[in-house]
Symmetry: C2
């Protein structure tokens, strides 16, 4: 046994073990080894055991490239996100990774930096690598990239952001429900003049805006245009500073808004800073709701009520859908999964006992904070 091993080492120095090596050691053919590896039934029990034993001994690792070449499957999932640092996407990446790991898949992650052109290139690169399936949170404005993917017949799943008129697989939160939920919560807290700081022209932002309007409409309130502001400041940087600027403007309208539903948490943080800077109280004078439930929402000067977007669940569902797509024999028709958002109530909207959470709602204190360490 050991003898033949050493022999091999002599001949092939520093090269990984191949099926051929095992076959030669055992006086079998590579075909037999291959079959054992993949659990074929037509192999003698005795032979199977010998082969498995030798594989162990030599730390045999099948060569993915060779396998991919012949099967046409790379056993990789490609993920494209606009920004890996954003906890929302990081969480999705983590969930996908965890879900596919057990099935022998690996995850190639790329970050498009919110740049459509870069995203296009990244997709090309992943297609060239023949990933078995693509999961994309797109920063595109057009659907052109997706046509290219379809040409290559690589299955793909959009997450987070949808495209009207593109019949593609989609997993994301129901953004209209997000808008409804946030606005209704403010109404329940007794807010009467509710403003909205809206996001860019994405399905996400438009959906939330729509939900905001519908919630008001349900109360017979006609949305006042001066209470719907885009995120302040132009350019890419439309987070905290943008929320600050927009809120400064909002506070100058009379009568002042007494509640603000914000496109996302950074914007809400900016809004809160502007409110505090103006000498007003949160939530007594102005209540604030964010979206995203970033994990630090709890540690702000005023803990921020936010709408959780189920990032882990989005990742998980996307992964499951991805696995089903690669295993599908034929092209299946696109499936759309809309997840329900969840309201996390914190201090920024909690006005006295008037608070009466309803529906899918969670109240929480500091104890919820369970995050991280070791760095």
């Amino acid at each position: 046994m050991l003898g033949s091993n050493q022999e091999r080492q002599k001949v092939r120095k520093n090269t990984p073990v191949r099926m051929k090596d095992i076959a030669q050691d055992l006086g079998l053919s590579t075909v037999t080894i291959s079959k054992v590896l993949r659990g074929h039934s037509d192999i003698g029990d005795e032979t199977r055991k010998r082969v498995l034993k030798r594989m162990e001994e030599l730390h045999y690792q099948p060569n993915f490239a060779a396998r991919a070449l012949i099967t046409g499957r790379s056993w990789t999932v490609g993920l494209v996100v606009p920004d890996l640092i954003h906890p929302f996407y990081a969480q999705i990446a983590k969930a996908i990774s965890a879900e596919i790991r057990g099935q022998g898949y690996s995850l190639i992650i790329t970050s498009s930096e919110e740049d459509p052109e870069l995203e296009r290139q990244e997709i090309e690169q992943l297609l060239a690598r023949r990933v078995d399936v693509l999961v994309i949170a797109s920063a595109q404005w057009t659907v052109e990239s997706f046509r290219r993917i379809e040409e290559q017949r690589t299955p793909y799943i959009l997450i987070d952001r949808q495209f009207a008129g593109l019949p593609a697989n989609f997993v994301g939160v129901d953004d209209e429900a997000v808008g409804l939920m946030g606005t209704n919560h403010l109404i329940e807290q007794g807010c009467r003049r509710i403003a909205h700081i809206r996001g860019p022209q994405t399905s996400t932002a438009l959906g939330r805006l729509e939900g905001y309007k519908r919630a008001l409409a349900a109360q017979g309130v006609v949305p006042r245009p001066e209470l719907i502001l885009p995120i302040g400041l132009s350019g890419d940087d439309c987070g905290e500073p943008g929320g600050y600027e927009a809120t400064r403007k909002l506070l100058q309208t009379t009568p002042q808004p007494d509640g603000i539903f914000c496109y996302n948490d950074p914007v809400a943080m900016g809004a809160m800073r502007a409110i505090l800077d103006a000498g007003l109280r949160i939530p007594e004078d102005v209540a604030v709701v964010g979206c995203g439930n970033l994990h630090y929402s709890n540690f702000l000067r005023v803990a921020l009520t936010s709408i959780d977007q189920q990032s882990a669940e989005i990742g998980k569902q996307a992964a499951l859908l991805a696995l089903s797509l690669v295993n599908a024999k034929e092209t299946v028709r696109p499936s759309v999964k809309l997840l329900s958002p969840e309201l996390i109530v914190r201090a920024s909207t909690l006005r006295s006992k008037a608070a009466r959470p309803q529906g899918k709602t969670k109240r929480t204190g500091q104890s919820e904070a369970k995050r991280t360490a070791r760095r």
Copy 2:
């Protein structure tokens, strides 16, 4: 032109374009196509142009698997981190990705969830995929996994956490300098009884502790054991709640500490909460320094002074080192890159005008906050 394309499509339906297809179309051999693709010099100008044109037209994409099989290089970098959601690691991942993108490499990312066994499996998986180089922020206690990597002769780089006695490539921040810097800053701010909430038994935590002690020693102060506490609460969860518990204990010692140097930002956040809950002021009664400079440090009830760990720079340096390793003809001897940390002074330590930042130090207000949006 179009004619031959359609012909091809007839024969090979739904299969990606191969070199062979282009060769046949143009009456050349695959070898010529291959050379054009890789920019070999020994190809006629005329031929090169024709080939490139046809490649365009057919959207030719080289098959990575085939190329990998023959060259033995997979053109992938494997990254293993303990937790993708942690901004520190996310930032590193992003920086590596950006750095290798231009060189034709893709990044396979896996998260070990701080679980050594899972990390071992992930490394095995990546080795089986023949990644060209591994970058690992390890959650291991032993060096066994690394021996396996060395056996396979895959170059690897440790980041963030080091292992004593393991001569491996390393890129990380100088943790002793971190400890020195944080503690010295507190001293400069006039703190006299400086406590330390220490982390687990990793190189990172031990280095910071060492720096803390050295800074005190330089002042002729002998560190008092009752002022050095491990993160409170046992178990995995040693972040914010742990910092809270440890600080509650610290505040019961007499005389009370007037400054706390914390292992990381979550711990510091817990510490601040405990201090405020005890009715004390930050920084007047107790000043607090964290480590990590998580991007929300600015938005806390009291903005947190923190020591930045250069995550982007770590990622970049690791990527450059990785690229140099895959291109190295022979095994090169391990290189160790220790980056200098950077002190970011905020409200949690800024005591009146007594503040006189010195050395590599940055003072900052809200304006520094430049983060994200579109979600």
